[in-house]
Amino acid sequence: MKREEAPKEAVASAATSSKDDPTLTTDAGSDQGLGLYLYGIADADVKTELGRIGIEENAVYTIPYSGLSAIVHDSPLEPYKSDDEEVVKGWVTTHQHVLDIAEEKFGTVIPFGFDRIIKPEGEVPARDVLNKWMAEEFDSLKDKIERIRGKKEYGVQIFFIPSVMSEKIVAESEEIRKIKEEMDSKSPGTAYLYKQKLEIAIKKEMESRMVSHFKDFYERIRKHVEEIKVEKTKRTDEKDKQMIMNLSCLVAEDKYKELGGELEKIDNEKGFSVRFTGPWPVYSFV
């Protein structure tokens, strides 16, 4: 599942990288010792507390800036890091949870990735650094909010079953059936080579079919979503199951059912299966 993978990536980055955005450098000697851990930016002008729901039970609150509000907690300057994957997973889940709550309360929220910490710069406390950054990025943040308003991210992964496909191809392709018939009439050694020939022919045909299936599915899905991002396909654990497409889709709330219906149709096609996950924070589109 797509978002099951996302935390894993975050886990890896948390475990290995400690370098943050170089523009947000730290000065440990300043009086304002604390940084601000940033969960996201909400489309709301509120100054409020969300309770101790943050990572390591920190109190989460909002810092408004002309119509937008950053969702933060006071944090040490060092990024959250642990060699224990379970601990990191817990943090990432909490991060996700805070974003869910924020969305419920404030509507549209631009999600930020795990471990984004705003640090004080010299005498300037982190809060002012954050406000300055929000001022500088104001237009771009507003644009992003507009882009994602009323929309959610969904993961769509489509798989095919090679064995079913190749059966279909053998049944449908004259050329391939002929190779198969020839193979059956040969002695073992020669039949072996014919078998290779057959496999190569099937593979070729399968690839060309998958290209047209990809285009077909893409077109059909595109009708129901605002934006599509084509992600890299991944290898599956199951032997007889291959991923043909891996998409992140930005979907308007009222289009969700349509998309689901279309995907169900694809799922019902012989030799294909679909995994539909979400809704997720719109990470892929901000």
Binding site: G189, T190, Y192, L193, V211, V230
Partner: protein
């Protein structure tokens, strides 16, 4: 590329690597054999011998994998090689080209 080889079991790891490479070579041989067969330069008897030899090679490889319990190791080495090649191809062939045509 980092090959995932269990340090406690270096022997298996190395053997797995060797067999994985042998498999790759076997695949190349197969393709070459096919080409020869289709080019028509081989007699029927030669084709049969060639096919038989490759068949025997398959059996031997499978036996070694089974006996040494390295089927998974071989697979992970080959998957690793696949990923490496995928990455390279991915950089050369931009997948968005596929979409622009639609």
């Amino acid at each position: 590329m980092v090959l995932d080889i269990d340090e406690d079991n270096l022997k298996q790891g190395v053997l797995g690597l060797v067999i994985a490479l042998l498999e790759v070579i076997r695949d190349v041989l197969r393709l070459q054999a096919l080409k020869r067969m289709e080019s028509g330069v081989l007699s029927e008897e030669e084709i049969e011998r060639l096919g038989k030899a490759l068949m025997d090679l398959d059996v031997v490889i499978d036996e070694i994998k089974e006996e040494q319990g390295i089927t998974e190791t071989v697979k992970s080495v080959r998957d690793g090689l696949d990923d490496l090649v995928d990455d390279v191809i991915d950089k050369i062939v931009n997948p968005s080209q596929l979409l622009e045509e639609t």
